[in-house]
């Protein structure tokens, strides 16, 4: 039982955080939006240079062979910066999914995906549309007959606008494709993808929440009304303390979900769902409070709060909406006893009674 991150994990996340603090500021976001381009080429290259796209791809497939626990803090950092590029969906969901497919057409692309030369977009029943399909090198789309590998260049993409301008969502129509996994193989692949998608949405939610609190606290220290900084008012303090508390009790759930996701049982699924619910609820409250504390400023385009607000709205509905994740928590409650020794329950664990015998 060790609920701490390694030095390496903390350090990698710190490097990403520093990179994004430097290259993913509000001004950077506005410039990218103005350009109409999908990615900031320089920032994306810097991300590729860190080897992040292949972080969760097995070493045999050209990746770093690391796990969700190694990516979760990085995902927080990306949420903190509201990163536009699809690093997390690619590195956390698409690339490892592609690498897990036992089919030559997939194998042929897995190394490129690991290196970040191409990104992988995924159609998933939990999502209405396919994110970043236009910039992807390959799109995976489930069908009745299995998982289709689609070349974006040979498909028809129709963009749907999200309130978050950096979300590039598409409906995809295709005629040419390769079925790379049969219906039965596809199911577990999609299950794992959903859990990962939800986990990393949660992690980004944590980052968004903390960013909103930090931004509001910074403003509250500076903005003077009635002759004192507004942050000296208990109302402002207590709003932010409530937000910070929500963050503090979402964070360990997200981290535990990352560590337990591999169990793939009712307990780990419930934990992932709890993580997503708690982290996005924290983000929801924090971004609203951030806007509120900024007053009319907070409601203006000029202040960055709306970027965090919109990303929060998007991630709340992505990779399983609230009702979906609450249902998974309800399943766990119904599935087995919840005595206090069951915090880290696993479906395959010997009951404690047997250990005692």
């Amino acid at each position: 039982m060790d609920f701490t991150f390694s030095e390496e994990q903390l350090m990698s996340a710190g490097v990403v955080r520093d990179l994004l603090a430097d290259r993913c500021t509000g001004a950077d976001l506005r410039r990218l939006m103005g350009s109409g381009e999908a990615r900031d080429a320089g920032r994306w290259q810097a991300i590729l240079d860190m080897g992040l796209p292949g972080l969760m791809v097995p070493e045999a497939a050209g990746g770093l062979g690391l796990s969700e626990t190694d990516l979760v803090l990085i995902a927080e950092a990306c949420g903190y910066a509201a990163l536009p590029e699809p690093l997390i969906e690619h590195a956390g969901v698409g690339a490892p999914l592609l690498a897990a497919i036992n089919h030559p057409a997939a194998k042929a692309l897995a190394e490129k995906a690991a290196g970040g030369e191409i990104t992988v977009a995924l159609g998933h029943p939990a999502n209405l549309l396919i994110a970043d399909a236009d910039t992807a090198g390959v799109i995976l789309i489930p069908g009745q007959d299995g998982l289709h590998l689609v070349d974006p260049a040979k498909a028809t993409l129709h963009r749907h606008d999200s309130i978050d301008a950096f979300r590039r969502l598409f409906s995809v129509v295709f005629t040419e494709s390769t079925v790379v996994a049969g219906p039965r193989e596809m199911v577990p692949l999609l299950e794992v993808a959903l859990d990962r998608g939800a986990l990393f949405a949660a992690a980004q939610g944590l980052g968004l929440a903390q960013r909103a609190v930090d931004m509001a606290a910074a403003y509250a220290k500076e903005r003077v009304q009635f002759g004192k900084p507004i942050g000296a008012n208990q109302a402002v303090k207590h709003h932010l303390a409530t937000c910070q508390t929500k963050i503090e009790f979402a964070r360990p759930v997200v981290h535990a979900a990352a560590a337990q996701i591999g169990q793939g049982d009712v307990f780990s699924r419930s934990r992932v769902s709890h993580a997503k619910l708690a982290a996005l609820a924290a983000a929801d409250l924090a971004v609203r409070m951030c806007i509120q504390i900024h007053g009319a400023m907070g409601y203006s385009w000029e202040v960055d709060a709306h970027f965090y607000l919109k990303r929060t709205i998007a991630l709340t509905g992505a990779w399983g909406d609230e009702a979906f994740h609450r249902a998974r928590v309800a399943e766990r409650i119904a599935a087995a006893a919840m005595t206090p020794d069951q915090t880290f329950a696993r479906a395959d664990a010997a009951p404690a009674e047997q250990v005692a015998a």
Partner: protein
Amino acid sequence: MDLTYTAEQQAFRAEVRTWLEAHVPKEPLASFDTAEGFEAHRAWEGVLASGRWSAVTWPEEYGGRGLDLIRWLIFEEEYWRAGAPGRVSQNGVFLLAPTMMEYGTPEQKARFLPKMATGEEIWAQAWSEPQAGSDLAAVRATATLDGDDYVLNGHKIWSSRAVFADWAFGLFRTEAGSERHKGLSLILFNLKSPGVRVQPIPQIDGEAGFAEIFLENARAPAANLMGGEGQGWNVCMATAGFERGLMLRSPARFQAAAARLAALSQRSMPDATQQAAVMQAVMDADAYALSIYSTASRLMAGGKIGAEASCNKLFWSELDVALHKTALSIKGAAAELTDDTSGEPWLDGYLFSLAGPIYAGANEIQRNIIAERVLGLPRG
């Protein structure tokens, strides 16, 4: 106490309904925060005025119908039931006009009210300044008498509708060196006059719902002073009283939204949490309506609107956020889409609801007011 409508009230409702059915545009108008939408909404104000429905509580001489508050509520219910357009002239008709009725000169009323009623002149409010948000008494903009004019200088901000509006009413320091609540005056000025520069401020949805107003030796006739020199704070507080009170947000608006939410919920498969939230939203919208009916009855019986009106703002603004959040939660993965095919603008409504707890006196200020004026707690 009798909570049934009289035959006359029922007939009035029928009249309103018939007129609205004949006149409400079949397609929603473009947002009034666009140039095109603003003019479309201005034209709708003209249509309303042609039926004498644009300012129903005003005296007939200025274009109103002299209706009592219950009929105003009935009118609003029918208006929201019909899905009629938002009121681009709200700042004038519901905020400035009641103040003008009380503090304006006969000349001011004759000059401004009729064109306000028809939408010929649309008004913006110009109260806040960069350093005077919640702390409105920190106003620095000045008005200096020069012959028959006030010369206006300063920087107003968060002025809603100002991007396209014709006139504005603002708070200015008329006494040099005065501080806080003293020496302030309410002055009406033309937004198209020389020395006035309006700079749109994009909101979080990208639309320019409000603007900055830069005043550099702009001029307003001295006759545009309202309520007496140095009386600006009191006059302004009277306006704020109306604003927080009955007319800023008519209950029908929230009942219409709650009804849409209930319908959304009935055709979706909400989970337990969402069902609970839908029911709460419906109850809260009803409670708000009942409260306004109760206040309206009391006022009609000769009572006064009190500090408890601060509770109104708090209640509807929080209800509005919760209601729209619930809708987005039910919409799930579709919540983020701006081209949502259902035709119900839940996302826009949610973004708009986030302004509720901020404007017209932030909710933190409202809670202070309730605690200090209603409950008598000591100032901090």
